[in-house]
Structures are given as C-alpha cells and as structure tokens.
Amino acid sequence: MLFKKINKIYDTDIGYSFFNSKIAIISSTIFLIICLCSVFAGIVAPYNPFDPATVSLMDAFTPPMWSEGGSSSFILGTDQQGRDMFSTMIYGSRISLIVGFSSIIFAMVLGVFLGVTAGYIGGMYEIVVMRLTDVQLTIPSILMALLVYGIARSIISQSMHDEMVMYVLIFAIGISEWPQFARVSRASTLVEKNKEYVSASRIIGLSNILIMFKHILPNILRPILVIATIGLALAIITESTLSFLGVGVPPTTPSLGTLIRFGNNFLFSGEWWITFFPAIFLIVLALSINLLGDWMRDALNPKLKKR
C-alpha cells in the first residue's frame, strides 16, 4: 500500500524531480530530522533545560565530551548556567521553528489576501495596496521588526512581557514579510483573471469572493509555496537576529539566537562551544530550508523543466 503510494508520487513530475535531486533529498531529510527533534524535544533531549531543578551550576562551562575535562553526560558541553548544550539547542530550535512557521503563515495569509484582492479588484484599492508594499519594501525587514517590537514593548505592560514576547515576535516578523507575498500573488492573479475559466465563472454569476478564493487562489499556490519556503528560512534568521540583539525571547527560554548571544560573551575566554554549536545548527537549518526552496522553485517552474 505504502509502496504503491510512493510509486505514484514518483510517477508525477515533481516527485520524479525530487527523487532525482540529491540536494533536495539531503536538505529535506535534515530539515525533517530537525523538525521531528524539536517536536519531540521531551523524548530526544537528555535534559530539560527549562526546568531549574535539573540544572546544577556545578556543571557550568563543561566542554564537549571529546575535549579535555569533558563529560560523557554532556555531549556538547554546558553553558554558563550548567545547562546541557545539546538539550538547550533542541528546545531552542523548537522556539525558532514555532516563531518561523507562525510568522510566515501570518505573513502569507495577510499578503496573499491583499495581493489577490488587489489584483482582482484593481482600481484605487490596488494602487493603495501596492504603494503600501513599495513603501514597506524600502524599509529593511529587520528594522521593521525592531520598530514593531519597540512599539509593542511600550504598549504592553511590564508584567506581560515574557508571556507576550512570542506573539509580538510573530507579529513583528510577519508584518515585515508580507509585501513579498502580496506582490507575487497580485502578479499571478493578474495573469489568471484574464483566463477564460474566470470569465466563465463570472458569466455563471459566482460572487467575486468565490472566484478569487475558490477559483484563482488554488491556481497561484505554486509561486506562493516557493516564497513561503524561502521566507521561512528568512523568518528563522530574523528571529535569531532579534534574539541576538537582545530584543527576542527571554534568556530563561532561549532560542538559537539567544544562545549565540550568550556564547558570544565567552568566545574569547576559551568557552567557544557555547556559541559555536548553536551557530552551526542555525546555519544548517537555514541552509537546508533555502536549498529546499531553491529546488522547489526550479521544479515548479515549467520553463526550466527537463524532459
């Protein structure tokens, strides 16, 4: 049954392209492993770094197990509070991934909605929406996120900060990414809306909402999927950058960026592993998503199709 299903996937063009691209297979495997690890962090990680009871300051600054003074109970060593690096990274990647996925979905829903409606309705509405994206594209996304984060901090009361910080991050990153989606979905909508199947739906009398989201939207999903994948890597990096700058998640529940920031302080005193492993982890994560996105862009582009 499963074999049949795999065979059927292999039979499609996109499946064939996937199984014949080493890069696609490797990067998707790495990405899948990281995702699974972070979802099942409780099982995979040997310690729970967020639980103060399991952490002992006595274990602080233990180097990785293969170097001198290392301990086999901490594979990649410990940080300044005695937390196991390996466990902290896995729990940290969970936060990075949650923020990444949520913010990109937020950006996608907002951008696609505005893009499709702008492309389909046109007129003044389209001009306003598209100028808005133009304006926002002139502001670097990291600045945009910092701005939103700053405003949010001053609005939300002090005691709520730690609870709300995740939502603020998602909103801040999402709001800085939506113009990409708006542009692409508007351009694709302009192409689709002149096709005759849309005319046929209009003649039947279907409402504009139905035509836009039932007929046009499924036909423009391919390019949106591609930029969503590449955008996911960008969102994860943006989150890490914000955390690195100290405006991200609190140190008690560190994400990858926070870990790199802590480690940065100890880099020159010899405790290189605290910053090195999270950095490598982040690079591998972002790279695998990016390569996957690259492959997807080529595979879904009919112009680049190989026979």
């Binding site: 005759e196 046929a200 003649i203 039947i204 279907l206």
Partner: protein
C-alpha cells in the same frame, strides 16, 4: 534524381516514460517549381519533418534512421553542411510573424545580417538587395520602410518581411510552417499568392505545412496526409482531394465545411472507415424531462441598440506626455461602433469579421464582462444594464452562457470535471440533494458524448475537443436559453471541429437554444447560422439571411471576404 529526397525517415523523442515516435518511415520527393503540402491533425508529425530537414529538432528528439538529401547531398548528421545550407539553400517561414523577427533590430539590420552571412556582398550591395527583396514581396515604399522596426509593421506585412528574409539568399527550398494560420483571410490570400508567384518565378521547391484543406486545395501540387507520424496517403492534390483512398484522408476531406452549400450535419468517419451517424434524441430525453418542454415562440430574445465600446487610454497618455490633443485622440480605440442587431428565439445568428472587428467585445458586453460606453442591451425586453451602466446579472439568471475559444484556459485546471459541471447547478439550486445533483451531472456529461468515468479526472487529461465538450456541458448546466459561442472550434482540428459543430447543432435542435455564433471562418459560419452580421472595424457592414449573403451580398467588404476565402471546392 529529385531535388529533395527524404527516405525512410524515423524520428523519435525519448521521454522518461516512453519513446514517442514522431515520424516513422517517411518517404517523399520534391522537385523544383513544385509546392508540396503536408496536412494532418495536430500531433501527427508535420512540423517534426520540416524541422528535421533543417536539423532543428529539439533535444532529446533525434533522427534514428533514414536519409535526407538535397541535390544528392546527404544532410543527416552533417552539421557543417547544414550550417552552410540553412538560410542559404533552405529558407524557413514560421507560423507567428509576431515572434519570428527580433523586435530589437531594424528590418534592415536583420536582412543585411542574413545576406552577408551567406553571400559575399559589401554593405551597400546587401542594402540594395534588401530593398529589392522587400519590393519583390510587395512592400510599398521599401527604401523608407527598411529603416523600421518589426513592431511598426502589421501582421501581414511582417509575414512578408519574414518571407523576404527566407528568400534573401536565393534559396532553392522554402519550408513554410503554417504560414497563414495567424493571419486574416484577405492577408492569407495575398501571402499564398506571393508564395505561388515566387515558386514560379524563382523555380523554388516549397513545402507548406498546414491544417487548412482550403489552403492545400488552392496552392499545392502535391500533398501528403499524415497521422501519428506515418504518411497515410500522398499524391497529386487534385487526385487526393477528389478521390481520397485512406480513411484519414477521407475523414479530413469530408469534415471540411463546404463553402458553396449548406449541409445539415457533417458526415463523420471513424478510424475503421465507417460513417458515424449520431442520434442525440435518446441522450437528451432526461435533460428535457428536468428542464421542462420548451417551445420556440419566435419572439425577440436579445436586442442591441447602438452599442458602442471605446477603449480609452487617454487618461494614461496625458499623464505620461502631458499630451497635446491630437496625441490623446489617437489613443481612443472604438472597438465597437454603434452596433445594433436583434436575435430571435431558436435561431443562430453569426457574427463574422477579421481580427479586431469587435466580435468578441460584443460577446463580452452581452455577458457583462465588459461595460459598453453607450447603447442598450435588452434581454426578453429587460435592459441588462441599469442607469449606472452596471450589469444586472440577476436579470438573466444564468440564461446567457458562453463557450470560449481556447479549450486550454477555459476550464479551471485545479477542478475535477465533476466539480466544474456541478458548480453552476449548485449555484442556481442551493438546496439540491446529492442524488439529484449527480443525476443532473450524468445527464449533462451524457449529452455532450463523454463517458461518466471522465467526471473524476482533471481537465489536463483531455484533448482539446474533449475539453470543448466539457465546456459545453458546463454552459448547459445553468439551463441557458442563449448560448454564445466565441470561435468555439478555431483551436481544433478539422475532424474534431466537425464533431463539435454537429454536437452544437444537435443540442440546439433538441433543447431549443438560441445561439450567437462568432467566427472568422466563413465556411463554418455558413454551416451554422440562419442569419449573419458582417463586422468591420467595430461597425456593422450588413446583416442578411445566410444564403442570401453568400449568393448576392451588397457590401463590397463582404464580397471580398467571400471571394478570398480558400475554397476546397476550387479544385474539385
């Protein structure tokens, strides 16, 4: 020994799943001064052969066997020789004159470049020769026009330039791949005359690839009929057209709409050579039961009075150039100009005209896709546009439906056929039961002659003709009274066209539909319509009963159109 000899030619395209044989065992010869026509349905391998002769087969396609000889020189696998011969000995004319010239270079540069590549001429001589070539293909004021860019020429003129390019190095062979398919009738006539003329004057060998039997009849000496990569029949054009032996050739000849008389239904021939007679009465029984019996009361169903549509780019032009008044009036295009006509229940009215005559715009105005600038449209004596020129779609309740030209874009590729057909039913009958819906969909798919299994597939799994059938089923789903057909068969092969036209006639007879049939193809219009409106540049030339129009039209434009259309009967 013949001028061009193709022997035993096999061409195949290996793909991931299978190897597609594009031509198998193709053999023919061509002498100087002869025009050879290659006909066949799409995918029969016509173009592949032409490309093989000049070695332009796209990889992974390859010639696996056989030989191609010009003047006894073997061309196959002889890259060096072909490079020399291509352009010099063989000229090529492509289908679409919009894309076969480089838009960034002047005509002059393109001609001179080609000439200097192959002939040992200086710049001035090459220029002189270019001008002379343009004159030869009938471009007025050639000395001046040679300085123009391709976009400054009309479609027909551009095709002439392409022909000038093709003959610029005095080739012995011209291959024309659908040279007139993208052109209007009157320009098609001129281009074909030009090709015939050049053949005689220069003693050329010409290969014309086309799907239009009228073109074959009027221009070629010899003809090859192809199917699935095989030559099924070849011979003298007259002999083959009057007395076709193979089933494919018979099917091709018989499904061409005759230009000189009106026939009730097209005869169809199945691949094994039997005539197919369709009987739609049984199929429509169920539909009539659900729709209720209709009668034609010969009432006026649709009335257009003084409809005008102006496409106005002025606001844009002013913004860009702060323009003078003259410039801004140039940008106003009157696509439809004061058009009035009436449509009675049960009849088929034809709208005929060349490209740009406003046929499709009228259809779009009636269906509410485009707003008219002026004029009124009455459906059953109710105006379809309110005082704000907004379309009142609830006034017609889906009773006006349309079938589109391009079967590849008129169906949503992400919908299954079942969903495509059931969507309009659900829209008009919000609380229809599941069983009732399935029954309705079955009835519709039966009536257009497709299997019920096809309901669970996606549009891309079907051929053009089958998709057009699905389009018809979708249009019928709203129980329309008026069906607008906008060039419904112009993207289809002749035999498929005959099937679809028969189907439309059957449906009309059984379901008492009124039709507005839009086409540029006069023979098709003649077969389908009771009355015809002839359009030119957005305005009506004349409106007449069909036979009256073909036998004694009054308007000179109509007379010219009828005179110039390629007639398959001209040879018989």
């Amino acid at each position: 020994m013949s001028f061009l000899e193709v022997k035993n030619l096999d061409i195949s395209y290996p793909t991931r799943k299978e190897t597609i044989v594009a031509s198998k065992n193709v053999e023919f010869t061509l002498e100087r001064g002869e025009i050879l026509g290659i006909v066949g349905e799409s995918g029969s391998g016509k173009s592949t052969i032409a490309n093989a002769i000049i070695n332009l087969i796209d990889p992974p396609g390859e010639i696996t066997n056989g030989s191609i000889k010009i003047d006894n020189n073997e061309l196959r696998d002889n890259e060096e020789l072909i490079q020399k011969i291509r352009g010099k000995k063989i000229g090529f004319v492509f289908q679409d004159p919009q894309t076969s010239l480089n838009p960034l270079f002047k005509i002059k540069e393109q001609l001179i470049e080609t000439i200097q590549t192959h002939l040992n001429l200086g710049y001035q001589d090459a220029l002189k020769k270019s001008i002379q070539l343009l004159k030869e293909v009938g471009i007025d004021n050639a000395e001046k026009r040679i300085e123009d860019y391709p976009h400054q020429f009309s479609g027909g003129m551009r095709q002439r330039v392409v022909i000038a390019l093709a003959i610029s190095c005095e080739p012995d062979l011209i291959i024309a791949d659908e040279p007139t398919t993208a052109l209007d009738v009157s320009i098609q006539y001129q281009i074909l005359e030009l090709l015939k003329d050049l053949t005689k004057k220069r003693n050329l060998g010409v290969i014309i690839i086309t799907h239009d039997m009228g073109v074959i009849a009027e221009t070629t000496n010899k003809v090859i009929v192809m199917r699935d990569g095989f030559i099924v029949e070849q011979g003298e054009t007259k002999e083959l057209l009057t007395n076709p032996k193979s089933n494919e050739a018979r099917s091709l000849v018989i499904s061409v709409p005759p230009t000189n008389k009106k026939i009730d239904r097209f005869k169809l021939i199945s691949p094994d050579g039997k005539e197919i007679t369709s009987d739609s009465k049984n199929l429509t029984k169920n539909i009539i039961k659900t729709w209720g019996i209709r009668e034609n009361k010969n009432q006026k169903l649709l009335k257009l009075t003084d409809v005008t549509k102006i496409f106005d780019d002025r606001s844009l032009a002013i913004n860009i150039s702060f323009g003078s008044k003259n410039e801004s009036t140039d940008k106003v295009v009157k696509a439809v100009d004061n058009v009035s006509f009436e449509l009675f229940e049960g009849e088929t009215l034809g709208l005929v005209g060349e490209s740009g005559s406003g046929k499709s715009t009228i259809a779009k105005i009636i269906t509410g896709l485009v707003r008219p600038t002026n004029g009124e449209i009455f459906y059953n004596n109710i105006s379809l546009y309110n005082s704000n020129r907004k379309y009142q779609i609830d006034k017609s309740r889906g009773q006006i439906q349309m079938i589109f030209q391009d079967p590849y874009s008129s169906l949503n590729p992400r919908f299954k056929v079942r969903d495509i057909i059931s969507e309009p039913i659900k829209f008009f009958q919000k609380n229809i039961s599941h069983n009732e819906l399935t029954k309705n969909v079955y009835d519709l798919i039966d009536i257009v002659g497709m299997t019920r299994q096809s309901l669970d597939r996606y549009p891309h799994e079907f051929s053009g003709g089958q998709r057009q059938r699905i389009s018809i089923a979708r249009a019928l789903a709203t129980r329309p009274l008026l069906l607008i057909c906008d060039e419904p068969t112009s993207a289809l092969d002749v035999s498929i066209q005959a099937q679809i036209l028969n189907l439309l006639k059957d449906i009309q007879d059984e379901l008492h539909l009124t039709m507005l049939f839009i086409s540029h193809d006069l023979p098709v219009i003649r077969q389908m319509c009771n009355r015809i409106v002839v359009l030119k540049n957005g305005s009506v030339c004349e409106t007449k009963e069909t036979e009256e129009l073909f036998n004694n039209s009054e308007h000179p434009y109509t007379q010219e159109l009828i005179r110039l259309m390629p007639k398959i009967e001209s040879i018989i």
